[in-house]
């Protein structure tokens, strides 16, 4: 299917210039990040930063307005017993739940992210995907998480993927666009790197690893490759792109490893919720339990924290 390019500002990148990924090097680098020792005050600061970067997520077929309401309450009141906590960056829901989230979060500075474009498989026509996107934006979503057409990408139809991202970006209007590569289905780090470059040139504000529906979801390896792609893109164009690893990051310790990787790959400028997010559901409680452990000295139990 031929698509008409809707914006002329984006140009299809020269993918022959995308460097090959050294997988052994990536593994070694990732192992190094995990050996950093972050303790005491720096740990507390890191954990608070993690909290502020979370996109609190519920993406289940069984989601009800009540469940979304509960999630939004959790986003607002992370753990009231501990004063001085930041709130999460956003809640992330399906398009039909955006209006519920909007109502529940009224008056709070928390973004509403919605997945769109026939999430999670992306197996539908462009017009359906665009309608899906417009519907979410009209209902009040300030961020759209789209999925790329992995089938087309793997079949080599890269311009289709490129044009599709551009078209969705157009449909987003003012909403931020996060492009999900679903790295678990791309197979190799080289393809991850290529898809990242494609998405950034097509107008993504964020690139995101996974839907959370496919194993493996986010890993430090793919995230590092994507961060390096963001770094090179910034060097060539001067444009900052955000990063969102999603799925499988459920412990505070692992989240802090990601922050170390972010700091050492992209630097301080990216160390804010504006440029880095965690897509997660159970991560928040683990971070809260670690913060509570730091302040009380006693290991915590999930029994004393609200369910997420």
């Amino acid at each position: 299917m031929a698509l008409k390019a809707v914006r002329t500002s984006a140009r299809f990148p020269d993918l022959s210039r995308v460097p090959a990924v050294d997988e052994v090097g990536v593994n070694e680098r990732v192992a190094r990040f995990q050996s950093r020792s972050i303790k005491k005050a720096s740990k507390v600061e890191a954990l608070k930063l993690v909290l502020s970067m979370i996109d609190l997520t519920t993406l289940e077929g069984q989601d009800t307005p009540g469940k979304v309401h509960q999630l939004c309450q959790k986003a607002i009141h992370l753990h009231d017993a501990m004063p001085g906590l930041p709130h999460v960056a956003a809640v992330c829901v399906y398009p039909t739940m955006v209006s519920v989230a909007k109502e529940a979060l009224a008056g709070h500075d928390i973004n509403i992210a919605s997945v769109a474009t026939a999430f999670p498989s992306g197996m539908s026509s462009l017009s359906v995907k665009l309608d899906d996107t417009r519907m979410a934006v009209a209902a009040g979503a300030t961020e759209i998480d789209m999925v790329i057409s992995r089938g087309a990408f793997l079949a080599g139809d890269l311009s289709y993927v490129f044009d599709e991202i551009m078209a969705v970006k157009e449909a987003c209007g003012d909403a931020h666009l996060k492009v999900i590569l679903e790295t678990g289905e791309l197979g190799t780090l080289d393809r991850v790197r290529k898809a990242s470059v494609l998405a950034m040139h097509a107008g993504a504000d964020f690139i995101k690893t996974s839907t959370g529906k496919i194993e493996p979801a986010a890993t430090m390896q793919v995230t590092l490759v994507m961060l390096q792609a963001i770094s090179d893109f910034y060097r060539h164009t001067g444009k900052m792109i955000g990063m969102k690893p999603a799925g499988g990051i459920s412990t505070a310790k692992l989240a802090v490893h990601y922050l170390v990787m972010l700091r050492e790959t992209l630097g301080n400028a990216w160390m804010t919720p504006e440029w880095f997010r965690f897509g997660a559901s159970s991560l928040a409680n683990d971070v809260l339990m670690q913060l509570m452990k730091q302040s009380t000295g006693v290991y915590q139990s999930a029994d004393y924290f609200s369910k997420d």
Partner: protein, 290 residues
């Protein structure tokens, strides 16, 4: 030729800890050395840290609902199988006890009692509920009954002197009743606890149901008592100071505190009340017509 052949290098065992059905080394990388009376090195053991304990609690918590849901019959079978596995490795345990300054006769007696203790509690798994549950007479139109439910995750500072029998006499009743546990092995005689972990592993006790650490009492007691995700703590040694520490810290989340410091492990511990120690009583009021 044959003399040369026999001079092979003995393969010494690496004593590790047991968390979530796996045998890791301590995350801290520390160890302590066990010596016999002559000062010869018997083994190096993991000196577990509070983080090992934390990891063990996570494993125990994860395993608990599934283990509690397993039928009493199955829990009994698994305990029985543990006894079978221990019987098969009897000589190894006797040798380890002798290595740790026990006499041959005392060692044999302790291992035999340990095997029998497992059989004893295997038999109780599908009986304690009938014995301790009750239908209660009440002065209203209700059918009122009380049943036992496992308290959850139990941390145990098991006896220092009775290193195998004491361990088993604490672990077996707790898991017979559907709890999961974390035990800190005897500090002066830790070998049998690690070998017993291998027995549990071979007997298909699900990973995380029993977790065994080796290390120092003085370092770990406070965490065994204070962890908010532990529902009951058992201590078997120590004077008033230990009792005070454990009880004060356990009050944090109102843990059940079970003192077994005056227990005679060869006789007293063959007792179903040890199962009830780590059970909660749930009473139900069911309306009935007159």
């Amino acid at each position: 030729m044959s003399a040369k052949k026999n001079r092979r290098i003995a393969v010494a065992k690496t004593y590790k800890i047991y968390i979530g059905g796996k045998f890791p080394r301590t995350e801290s990388g520390r160890y302590f050395t066990l010596e016999d009376k002559q000062g010869n090195v018997i083994a190096n053991l993991c000196r577990s840290s509070r983080k090992d304990f934390r990891n063990a609690v996570v494993a125990a918590r994860k395993a608990q609902p599934g283990w509690a849901k397993a039928s009493a019959y199955l829990r009994g079978q698994i305990l029985y199988r543990t006894a079978e596995m221990l019987e098969g490795r009897r000589e190894q345990f006797v040798a380890e006890l002798v290595l740790q300054a026990s006499t041959q006769r005392a060692a044999e007696q302790e291992v035999d009692l340990s095997i029998d203790r497992l059989i004893y509690f295997a038999g109780w798994t599908d009986k304690y509920q009938q014995v301790f549950s009750a239908v209660n007479p009440v002065n209203s139109s209700h059918f009122n009954f009380s049943v036992l439910e496992p308290t959850g995750v139990v941390s145990m500072l098991v006896p220092d002197s009775s290193s195998l029998l004491g361990l088993i006499s604490n672990v077996a009743p707790a898991i017979a009743g559907g709890n999961t546990c974390i035990a800190l092995a005897s500090e002066s005689k830790p070998l049998c606890a690690v070998s017993f972990a291998e027995v549990l592993h071979a007997a298909d006790v699900p990973g995380g149901v029993v977790n065994i650490l080796t290390g120092f009492r003085s370092e770990l007691t406070e965490f065994f008592a204070s962890h908010m995700d532990v529902n009951a703590v058992i201590y078997c040694d120590g004077g008033k100071a230990v009792a005070k520490t454990v009880q004060e810290l356990a009050a944090n989340n109102i843990k059940r505190v079970i003192a077994r410091s005056r227990m005679d492990w060869s006789g007293d511990a063959e007792n179903p009340y040890l199962i009830r120690d780590t059970q909660e009583v749930k009473t139900t009021w069911h309306p009935i017509g007159n």
